[in-house]
């Protein structure tokens, strides 16, 4: 390996030190940033009807960013599936983990509350901390617990794999169509057509609830697909 020249090392370390100093000074200087955030805090709830201002930003003001975020997640799931499915030859029969009564019973006990927590996080994402991404991941992790307790092939047999994959892409299509739908009514795309509603109600926040449910389903399926393909490729958990 060729060692970089002394000038390059000095330049790189000077850059790093300047960047660190900038960050530390930013930490001390609050004024300007508070003004920037004040607009969101002041208008966020009135504009969107969501009590959770973070959800109001990423599912209303900056929905465009979130669409690409979902796209990145979908591409990652597609990549995992594509590269691991190529290796058909190495696919082994999934080894049965020896039955463990402890894991089995704790999975039976824990799976319903975990699933319920995931659904709660998705449905109340516009009122309290949570949202589609975290709720979907929580529910997907519950499935991982089931896969550990029962064996991944047993859990996989419960799902119709091909239908699941089609459903996942259908959800992505639904999100994009929902974002594009205002064009039909001659409005700008990504406009929220539903009324904000009363802040704090379950049905409020305009389209944020719909987006949260769609993203939750998408992330739930995506998490399960990633887990399942990793398990299938490796042969065991």
């Amino acid at each position: 390996m060729r060692w970089p020249s002394r000038g390059m090392i000095i330049t790189a370390s000077a850059l790093a030190i300047c960047f660190c100093a900038l960050l530390i000074m930013m930490f001390d200087y609050h004024g300007a940033r508070e003004e920037a955030g004040a607009a969101y805090i002041e208008r966020g709830t009135i504009d969107t009807g969501a009590a959770n201002l973070v959800a109001a930003i990423y599912l209303n003001y900056r929905l465009f960013d979130t669409l690409f975020e979902i796209l990145v997640f979908s591409v990652a799931v597609l990549g995992v599936r594509f590269y691991l499915a190529q290796q058909r030859g190495s696919e082994k029969e999934i080894a049965r983990i020896p039955e463990s009564q402890v894991i089995r019973i704790s999975a039976d006990l824990l799976f319903p509350p975990i699933l319920l927590l995931g659904i709660y996080l998705v449905l109340f994402g516009h009122l309290s901390p949570g949202g589609g991404f975290s709720g979907g991941t929580v529910a997907g992790t519950g499935l991982l617990l089931c896969a550990v307790a029962l064996g991944a092939d047993v859990v996989a047999r419960r799902f119709h794999e091909a239908a699941l994959e089609r459903f996942e892409w259908g959800v992505l299509l639904a999100i994009l169509l929902l974002a594009l739908f205002p064009v039909v009514l001659r409005r700008l795309p990504l406009t929220d057509l539903l009324s904000p509603g009363r802040v704090g109600n379950m049905v409020s926040g305009g389209s944020i609830l719909i987006y949260n449910v769609l993203i939750g389903v998408k992330v739930f399926i995506g998490t399960w697909v990633i887990i399942h393909y990793f398990v299938r490729h490796r042969g065991e958990i």
Binding site: C20, Y40, V54
Partner: protein, 119 residues
């Protein structure tokens, strides 16, 4: 200003992660270091935004409590999801490399690839 705050911890963690990414030869440890770098970035974004008396930006009543700026939190959400996507995909590539070359040592993999090219 205290010396030990979120930003300085984030800078130290970033440095450790970067060094691990460059100096360690094991691919799985490289991925762990990448995860550390990602985590330190998130810590930096959140703590730049933190206030001593601030509360989470979730409106419960019209009374104006000093909410913290919600925008960096929305950015952090994107960072977490993309971090997850990158790590999952990178792990797949490491698995494929290990399957082919039977090692996680990046230099040995490089040597084997060079050996393949030169007949």
């Amino acid at each position: 200003m205290e010396i030990i705050n979120g930003v300085t911890i984030a800078i130290v963690l970033f440095g450790i992660g970067l060094l691990g990414l460059i100096l360690r030869r094991d691919l799985v440890i490289k991925l762990l270091a990448l995860g550390l770098v990602n985590g330190s970035t998130i810590l930096c974004l959140v703590s730049l935004n933190a206030r001593v008396d601030g509360v989470a930006p979730i409106v419960h009543s019209p009374a104006s409590a000093p909410y913290v700026d919600p925008l960096p939190h929305a950015l952090v959400l994107s960072a977490i999801v993309i971090n997850f996507a990158i790590l999952a995909l990178a792990l797949v590539f490491v698995m494929l490399l290990v399957e082919r070359y039977h090692t996680t040592d990046s230099q040995r993999i490089e040597h084997e690839i060079e050996g393949e090219r030169i007949p």
